[in-house]
């Protein structure tokens, strides 16, 4: 049993980087992404006996991760819902490398997307999976993949265009 755990841990150390990359790009928060990866790795350990086709390991593990991302995204961070958050001075978070306006707008738009749409966007545009591959991996209809990708793309464009609108600067008389 301990040997199994050791072997699994070694395997996860290899697969973990890829999982983190996917989870971060969906959740856009490192700590949440790490939580999702933990959830996925533990879920995979639990469900490993149900994996009958080793060739589908990558898709199987990705599906578990995506579900973990859904859970993580739907779970409000502790203390964020029922607490009185006190104002503090915001740390200097400006990143000199992210001065590209397009990327900032994309980021704002992406964060507004539902998690299921984010996942499709990441799998398609980051991993380069085809829509059919996504449908098969996530065990959802191809039409669902297409529609989510369509709406996500449209929403991203709309968000970017909305951000592009000039801001009214009229002052009250």
């Amino acid at each position: 049993m301990q040997g199994d755990e050791d072997a699994y841990t070694g395997l996860m150390a290899i697969a973990g980087d890829r999982l983190l990359a996917i989870a971060y790009r969906i959740l856009r928060d490192l700590h949440r992404a790490e939580d999702a990866v933990q959830t996925a790795l533990l879920g995979a350990w639990r469900d490993l006996p149900m994996l009958h086709d080793p060739d589908r390991f990558e898709a199987w593990l990705t599906r578990i991760l995506i579900r973990a991302c859904y859970l993580e995204a739907n779970r409000d961070r502790r203390w964020t819902t029922n607490m009185r958050v006190l104002p503090v001075d915001a740390p200097a978070m400006s990143d000199p490398t992210s001065v590209v306006a397009d990327r900032d707008r994309l980021d704002r738009g992406f964060r507004r997307l539902p998690t299921d749409q984010r996942a499709i966007v990441v799998l398609h545009h980051y991993l380069g999976w085809s829509q059919a591959e996504i449908a098969e991996a996530l065990e959802i209809p191809l039409g669902t993949v297409k529609s989510r990708l369509f709406y996500a793309t449209r929403a991203l464009r709309a968000a970017i265009e909305a951000d592009d609108r000039p801001i009214t600067t009229e002052r009250p008389a």
């Binding site: 999982l19 990866v37 533990l42 639990r46 502790r78 964020t80 545009h125 991203l156 464009r157």
Partner: protein, 394 residues
């Protein structure tokens, strides 16, 4: 390049940016959880007997039976305390019924409240924690649950740990006074000194308050290493009386005079500081709980693993001065505290999101909770005892 091409290229460039390497601490945590996954319901980081808090013991006069009356009195502000906006303690809300001791074995029978309140009288004090020979509760450290289920309480009279069975019998006194390796000095200050925190393998770290240092021991209580000296620089201490280790072995030490928390590697290499702070409870996943809000008022505060501020809340009606926190295996948070005059106020069980699950008239200076969440050990401010409360599991 068409607008569509530019959009796709921009999107793919955006997605390409970001971390691509999983932290070792996640793998470490997964490994630690492999054998315990089935017991975890929410959080997946490894949790073990917790850590609690601290106290400041300036005003500890308590009228007998005041706790129950207090809870009734604060009932009108109970729910408002957790809503955004200013506290409105005078707002009308369902009253919290008083329960007689005979009713205390179960939840409130009232159907008008969502938060049952249990009277403190329902618990029998574990008087073995203290010999009552002229001592005071400020001479006791907060209770700590060891992996074997026993309760460790530092005593500044003995300069040793009093180790109790779960039933409250004094099983052992361990430790010798002094400043040598493996010896302790838990005195030297007004507040309770001395604390311990356990790692998953049974090894532990001791906040050796009066010697201004931390000592590390293995599971067989063999001295391994020490670090720290008196001072205000990084890695130094003035009154280290709370200690808590997280899942990756980061040891957090709260200092009651510096009013900060310092984080160290398991071997004592200084990592970072958090301030202001009082007690410290490291959760299984690297988050840290303490009880001083950024503006200096008392409240529950959480910091992220990277040391940044996560959030906080004050509870002026329910628990004016939080004194300690603990976790059960499901990640529920238990907080105990005092009133503004030093009397025991309440013990509150929150879920991970900060939602109040239960309130008991069982405040105190520190708390330890069983993994199942069905037993709480609370250091009382008024009678120099640790009280065991058998409470409904969440």
């Amino acid at each position: 390049m068409t607008p569509d091409d530019r959009f796709i290229a921009g999107l793919e460039g955006y997605l390409d940016a970001g971390p691509t390497e999983l932290s070792d601490r996640v793998i470490w945590s997964v490994r630690a959880n492999l054998s315990t996954t089935r017991q975890r319901r929410h959080r997946l980081s490894f949790r073990w007997p917790w850590r609690y808090p601290m106290s400041s013991s300036t005003k500890l006069l308590v009228a007998a039976g005041a706790t129950l009356a207090l809870v009734v009195a604060v009932g009108s502000g109970l729910f408002n305390a957790f809503l955004p906006g200013p506290a409105t303690g005078s707002s009308p809300s369902p009253s919290i019924p008083s329960l007689s001791p005979s009713q205390s074995s179960g939840p409130s029978q009232s159907s008008t409240i969502k938060v049952p309140v249990y009277p403190a009288q329902s618990a029998a004090p574990l008087t073995a924690a203290w010999d009552s020979s002229g001592g005071s509760p400020t001479k006791l450290g907060v209770p700590v649950l060891a992996p074997d289920g026993r309760i460790w309480v530092a005593s500044s009279v003995d300069n040793a740990f009093r180790i109790l069975t779960p039933e409250g019998k004094l099983a052992e006194v361990w430790g010798t006074p002094g400043s040598g390796d493996g010896q302790f000095n838990f005195s030297g200050g007004p507040d309770n000194g001395g604390a311990v925190t356990f790692g998953p393998d049974g090894g532990f770290w001791v906040a050796d308050t009066g010697n201004f240092r931390v000592q590390r021991f293995d599971k067989d209580r063999k001295f391994l290493s020490k670090w720290g000296r008196f001072g205000s620089a990084d890695g130094e201490f003035s009154y280290p009386n709370y200690i808590s280790v997280d899942t990756v072995g980061t040891v957090f030490v709260a200092d009651d005079k510096r009013h900060d928390i310092q984080g160290f590697t398991s071997d004592g290499q200084y990592l970072r500081s958090l301030k202001p702070a009082s007690f410290v409870t490291a959760t299984g996943d690297g988050y840290v709980l303490t009880s001083i809000l950024p503006d200096g008022r008392p409240g529950l505060v959480e910091y992220k693993p990277d040391g940044s501020y996560q959030g906080g809340m004050d509870m002026p009606d329910l628990m004016p001065v939080p004194q300690g926190t603990a976790y059960d295996a499901q990640g529920n948070i238990y907080a105990v505290g005092l009133t503004s005059t030093g009397a025991a106020s309440t013990m509150v069980r929150f879920d991970e999101t900060g939602q109040v699950l239960n309130v008991w008239a069982a405040g105190g200076l520190g708390v330890a909770v069983s993994p199942a969440g069905d037993i709480a050990y609370v250091l009382q401010p008024d009678d120099a005892t640790i009280r065991r409360y058998d409470i409904p599991a969440p």
